[in-house]
């Protein structure tokens, strides 16, 4: 085997290894490196009480209740399942019904999730406020724009 052929062999070998490794990683990461879980991903029968996790989804319409000036109760949903959340503290600007949010905290019992932090999740749509009103007036407002 000449040196050049050996070198070529090693290059091909390296590329094959890297390619297979990338495929292996991509195939497996999709569901694993999550900053948060969605409500339907949480196994209702096997809830770990007091274990700190993050849940991401939308704030369900008509579920937001103000209990006192700094204490709130709402539902997080991903249209398949929903979770009741209680929170004490200051909500971010973007937080509103129908808007995406990520909450950090723990289940205090089987059904109620006590949030310690609430982050509002913004989507990739940018639109002037005036246009939104126009769209709503004419009925073209796409529900997907949350």
């Amino acid at each position: 085997m000449s040196l050049r052929f050996q070198r070529l062999l090693f290059i091909v070998l390296t590329l094959v290894i890297i390619l297979s490794a990338v495929l292996l990683i991509l195939y497996n990461t999709r569901e694993n490196v999550s900053y948060f879980y969605t409500p339907s991903e949480i196994d209702k029968s096997n809830i770990m009480i007091n274990k700190i996790i993050r849940i991401g989804g939308f704030v369900e319409n008509n579920s937001f209740n103000k209990i006192s000036s700094s204490s709130f109760k709402f539902k997080i949903t991903d249209e398949k399942a929903s979770i009741i959340v209680t929170f004490k503290g200051i909500l971010p600007d973007l937080f509103r019904e129908g808007q995406g949010a990520v909450i950090e905290g723990a289940f205090i019992d089987k059904n109620i999730f006590n949030a310690t932090n609430v982050f509002a999740k913004h989507d990739e749509n940018y639109m002037p406020a005036s246009i939104k009103e126009d769209l709503e007036d004419t009925g073209y407002w796409n529900k997907k724009y949350k």
Binding site: T14, I17, L24, N32
Partner: protein
């Protein structure tokens, strides 16, 4: 056949070298345990908390203690000209890097792996988790060996800033820590997370001979 004997006696040579410097390895392990003690004392006696963050502590300390010995990875052999002699004995630079990584794993990381069960007892990690800890640490320390080879070969000619090598290893080991701590905390995802770690191992393993080999060549050329 000749190549195989050469490889075996390369490892024999490494074994002899590490045996004569066994106190270095033991000091590393003592550092590992003393840091565990310090962590336990600084957190307080709450067993729940300790077992909650135990795996994270274990990983951080493994990373720190294995970066401690990084400077010795190639430095000794480089300075006394042995690297050159090994190369002249028919090993290409990349192959030297692979063998050195292997010997670092065998003689430096495996003693750590063997001391993990004791560390688990100290940190209150349950027996069922021990197997997950062990698997993730085996793959993880192989990755650390490869990264260590890359960073220490890069810093062979670096006379001013030794810490840079450790920083390089640490910044590239962030994903390893994310996934391997995930393995232990999310047992239901064991398979896919192990596959991811294995994939990372394959990538660094494939990059290692090229990057380290090139750096070794550079350093020998300009020493």
């Amino acid at each position: 056949m000749k190549l195989l004997t050469k490889i075996i006696f390369f490892l024999y040579r490494e074994y002899k070298l590490n045996l004569s410097g066994v106190q270095d390895i033991l000091t590393n392990i003592i550092f590992f345990f003393v840091s565990i003690f310090i962590f336990i004392f600084s957190i307080g006696p709450d067993k729940e908390t300790i077992s909650l963050i135990g795996v994270g502590i274990l990983w951080t300390l493994l990373l720190l203690s294995s970066t401690l010995s990084l400077r010795k990875f190639y430095q000794d052999d480089f300075e006394n000209g042995n690297l050159l002699i090994i190369h002249l004995n028919g090993f290409s630079y990349g192959f030297i890097a692979i063998l050195k990584t292997l010997s670092h794993f065998i003689f430096v990381q495996i003693p750590f792996l063997l001391s993990i069960p004791i560390a688990c007892i100290l940190l209150n990690i349950s027996n069922e988790k021990l197997i997950y800890v062990f698997i993730s640490f085996t793959i993880g320390s192989l990755i650390l060996s490869c990264l260590g080879s890359i960073s220490s070969s890069m810093n062979l000619m670096n006379q001013r800033n030794y810490l840079l090598g450790s920083v390089i290893v640490m910044i590239f080991s962030v994903p390893i820590i994310i996934f391997s701590v995930g393995i232990i905390n999310l047992e239901e995802n064991f398979n896919s997370l192990t596959n991811i770690l294995f994939g990372i191992l394959l990538i660094v393993f494939a990059i290692n001979p090229w990057a380290s080999g090139l750096c070794l060549k550079l350093s020998l050329e300009n020493s």
